[in-house]
C-alpha cells in the first residue's frame, strides 16, 4: 500500500521525477562505462606487458631477484617443471638463463641482456615471437643464432643474416664468447626491450656460459592472469622443499602495479566528486518537494497517519527514484560497455605514449560484476543515506502547523 502510494506520488510531478531519474542514470552510466574502460585498460596493460616477457609469475633461485647473478641457478629445472605441470591453473612454464653481455659488430659494441630460452616452451609464456618484424623467431633446432630488439640491431648496424659477437662472463667466472647469426629482429614498442634485449637458444646459452643444464629462472603463464595468481599458493606448496622463490606479477613489475594504483586513486577522486554532486542534486529536489508538500503531509497526519509511516513513505519515494535511475544507468552503461568491448575505442595520436605501457592503439572496456556494480552501488548507498534528511524533517512535522503553512 505504502509502495503504491510512493509510486503514485513520484508521478505527480513527472517532469521532476524524470529529471532526477536521468541524473542518477547518467551518473551511474558514466561510472559503469568509465570504470569498465579503466579496468579493461589495466587488464590489457598488465597482460600485454606481462605476456611480452615477464610472464604471469616466476620461479627464481633465492636472492636472484635483488642480485641477478648468473651463478644463482636452478640446477635441475626439469624436476621443477615436472612438478609445476601437476599444479592446477598453471598453463605453461618455460626455463630461461640470462646474463648481461657485450654484443659487438666491428667497431660497434653495445651492452645487452642476453637471455637463453627454450624456443618451443618460450612461445607459451611470451609473445615476443609475435613482435618479429624481420626474419623469424627461434626454432627448436637452432644453434648459433640470436634474435635482437629493433633499436639494438640499429645500434649495432646489423640486419638479418649478419654476425654478432657476444662476450660475457660465464657461470664459472671464465670468459663466455660466441659468434651468432642474427636470425630475427623484433619490435615490441617498449623502448627498453627493443634497445637492450636479445634471445638465443637455451642450449647454446648453457654451452657458452658453462651452465650445464642449469637455468636462472622459470616463467609461468596460463589462460588468465587471475588464474595463475590464484594458483601461486599451490605452486609454493608444490615447490616447498626446493630452495626456490615464487614471485607474482606485482613483485615482478612493481612499477606497473604502482602506476595502476596511482591512476585508480586519482580517478577515484573524480568518481567521488561525481557521486557527491549527484547526491546533492537529488537531495536538493527532494527537500524542495518535501517543503512544497508540507500542507499535504499535515493533512495526512491529521487524518491519522503515523509520522514514522509518513517518513517511510518519503524514504520509499526516494528509493524508487534511485532504483529507477540506477537500473536505467546500469542498463544503458552496461549495454554501451558491451558494445564497445567488442568494437574497441580508438585513441588516435596516443600510440607512442601507450606503447610504453604495452597498450595497443585501440582500447577495449571490460564489463565485469565489479565495474557494473561498484559505481551504482556507492551511489545507491549515498542516496539512501541522504534520505535521512527529508525523513527527519517529515517526522518533526506538527499536523496543525503544517496544514496552515502556505
Amino acid at each position: 500500500m505504502l509502495a503504491g502510494l510512493a509510486w503514485r506520488n513520484l508521478w505527480r510531478h513527472p517532469r521532476r521525477t524524470v529529471l532526477n531519474v536521468i541524473s542518477i542514470a547518467f551518473a551511474s552510466l558514466v561510472m559503469v562505462f568509465l570504470l569498465s574502460f579503466q579496468l579493461g585498460t589495466y587488464a590489457t596493460m598488465k597482460e600485454n606487458i606481462l605476456r611480452m616477457l615477464d610472464g604471469f609469475a616466476q620461479v627464481q633461485p633465492a636472492g636472484y631477484k635483488d642480485n641477478p647473478d648468473i651463478r644463482k641457478v636452478i640446477a635441475h629445472p626439469n624436476k621443477i617443471l615436472k612438478r609445476l605441470q601437476t599444479v592446477d591453473g598453471v598453463g605453461a612454464a618455460a626455463p630461461r638463463a640470462r646474463s648481461y653481455a657485450i654484443l659487438s659488430n666491428g667497431e660497434k659494441s653495445v651492452a645487452a641482456a642476453v637471455v637463453g630460452v627454450d624456443p618451443v616452451l618460450e612461445t607459451h609464456v611470451s609473445r615476443l615471437n609475435h613482435s618479429i618484424r624481420k626474419g623469424r623467431y627461434l626454432q627448436g633446432n637452432d644453434q648459433a643464432v640470436i634474435v635482437l630488439g629493433s633499436s639494438l640491431a640499429r645500434n649495432l648496424h646489423v640486419g638479418v643474416g649478419d654476425h654478432v659477437s657476444m662476450l660475457g662472463q660465464a657461470r664459472d667466472g671464465s670468459v663466455a664468447a660466441d659468434v651468432l647469426t642474427v636470425i630475427g629482429i623484433f619490435h615490441t614498442g617498449t623502448p627498453d626491450v627493443d634497445r637492450q634485449f636479445a634471445e638465443i637458444p637455451l642450449a647454446r646459452f648453457q654451452t657458452s656460459f658453462v651452465m650445464d643444464s642449469a637455468v636462472n629462472l622459470l616463467v609461468l603463464s596460463g589462460p588468465t592472469l587471475a588464474g595463475v595468481t590464484h594458483a601461486l599458493p599451490r605452486v609454493r606448496k608444490a615447490l616447498a622443499n626446493t630452495h626456490v622463490q615464487v614471485y607474482d606479477w606485482q613483485q615482478l613489475q612493481p612499477g606497473l602495479d604502482a602506476a595502476i594504483s596511482l591512476d585508480l586513486n586519482t580517478s577515484m577522486l573524480w568518481y567521488v566528486s561525481l557521486v557527491v554532486v549527484v547526491v546533492f542534486i537529488i537531495l536538493n529536489t527532494l527537500l524542495m518537494s518535501v517543503l512544497e508538500r508540507t500542507r499535504e503531509f499535515g493533512v495526512l497526519l491529521a487524518v491519522g497517519m503515523r509520522p514514522s509511516l509518513l517518513g517511510r513513505m518519503i524514504w520509499l519515494e526516494l528509493s524508487l527514484l534511485a532504483l529507477l535511475g540506477l537500473a536505467l544507468g546500469m542498463l544503458i552503461g552496461g549495454g554501451a560497455t558491451l558494445i564497445y568491448s567488442h568494437v574497441g575505442i580508438n585513441m588516435p595520436g596516443a600510440e607512442t605514449f601507450f606503447a610504453q605501457w604495452g597498450l595497443p592503439g585501440k582500447l577495449y572496456p571490460r564489463l565485469s560484476l565489479l565495474s557494473l556494480s561498484a559505481g551504482p552501488g556507492v551511489l545507491a548507498i549515498c542516496i539512501l543515506l541522504a534520505g535521512i534528511f527529508p525523513y527527519r524533517r517529515v517526522r518533526r512535522l506538527e499536523p496543525v502547523a503544517a496544514m496552515r503553512s502556505a
Binding site: Y100, V110, G173, V175
Partner: protein
C-alpha cells in the same frame, strides 16, 4: 748574555715546534701522486695473480700487466688455460677487450663500465678511472698515525664541483714512503660501497710495494678479490707499439728494454 740567548732559543723552539711540525705535514695531493708513482712509475711491467673468492666458490687467474704514464695500460691473462689470451687495453678513458676465441677486439661500451671486471670485485671503472682521484677530486689530510715505524697519512678526497665522478668520497691511506695502504670508496650518500686494503707490503722491483691487496664490497664479508704481485719492473723503456690495438690482437713478443 750567552745564557740569555740560550733561554730565548729554547723558548722560541718550544713555542714554534708545533708550527714547524705542522709545516712538515706533506701536501695531500703530492702524497697521492707519490703513491701513484710508487704504484706504477713512469711505466711498469708486473706479473699478477688474482683470486676471486665467493662463499661457495673460488677462482684464480694470472696476468701480465703493462702501464705507461697515468692513462695507458695493457693486461693479458695467462692462466687458467680457458681464459689465457684474453686481454684488456686501456688508452685514456677508452677500453678494448680482446678475446682469442672470437679472435676479435671489442670496444667496451660505456654502459658496461660499472660491471665487474673478469668476475672480480673490481669494476671496469676501477681500472679505467683509477687516476680520477688525482684529477677529479680535492684532497684533505684528515689523519696521521704511527704504524710499524712509518707515518701513515689518511687523506679524504671529495669530488671537485661539476666533476662527473663515480664516487661521492674516497678515503686513501698512504705510508710516508708512498706505499698505498688502502682506499675506501663511498657513494653519493656517503655510504661505504667497497674497500681496497693492502695486506702485505714487500719489495718489488727495488721499491717497497703493496704486493698483496684485497678488494671487498662493504656489505659482503665473505666475498673478496685478492691481487698478488710476484714480479715488478718500473720505469722501463716500453715500445709505443705495445699500447696499440694491433698489439692487443697480435701480441708481439715482449722483451725488457731495461730500466731508464
Amino acid at each position: 748574555m750567552k745564557r740569555c740567548n740560550w733561554i730565548l732559543l729554547t723558548t722560541l723552539v718550544s713555542v714554534l715546534s708545533p708550527v714547524i711540525a705542522r709545516a712538515a705535514d706533506p701536501d695531500p695531493t703530492q702524497l697521492i701522486q707519490q703513491a701513484f708513482d710508487n704504484w706504477r712509475g713512469k711505466s711498469s711491467y708486473t706479473e699478477v695473480s688474482m683470486t676471486v673468492h665467493r662463499p661457495d666458490w673460488e677462482r684464480s687467474m694470472s696476468m701480465l700487466s703493462w702501464t705507461r704514464g697515468d692513462d695507458d695500460s695493457l693486461v693479458r691473462f695467462t692462466a687458467p688455460a680457458k681464459d689465457a689470451g684474453n686481454a684488456t687495453l686501456k688508452l685514456g678513458d677508452a677500453m678494448w677487450i680482446y678475446n682469442p676465441r672470437l679472435s676479435q677486439i671489442l670496444k667496451l661500451p660505456a654502459s658496461m663500465m660499472a660491471q665487474s671486471w673478469m668476475g672480480s670485485d673490481f669494476s671496469y671503472n676501477d681500472l679505467a678511472k683509477a687516476n680520477a682521484i688525482l684529477t677529479e677530486y680535492t684532497h684533505k689530510l684528515i689523519g696521521k698515525q704511527q704504524q710499524d715505524g712509518h707515518v701513515v697519512f689518511t687523506i679524504e678526497a671529495l669530488p671537485k664541483p661539476q666533476a662527473a665522478t663515480v664516487w661521492g668520497k674516497q678515503i686513501v691511506r698512504i705510508r710516508d714512503d708512498g706505499v698505498l695502504l688502502g682506499e675506501d670508496y663511498y657513494d653519493q650518500d656517503m655510504q661505504l660501497v667497497k674497500a681496497m686494503q693492502t695486506r702485505k707490503v714487500g719489495p718489488l722491483g727495488g721499491r717497497p710495494y703493496p704486493v698483496v691487496m684485497t678488494m671487498q664490497k662493504a656489505d659482503k664479508k665473505d666475498e673478496w678479490t685478492r691481487i698478488q704481485f710476484s714480479q715488478g719492473h718500473f720505469n722501463l723503456k716500453l715500445p709505443n707499439s705495445l699500447f696499440t690495438k694491433s698489439n692487443l690482437r697480435n701480441p708481439r713478443k715482449f722483451t725488457f728494454g731495461g730500466s731508464e
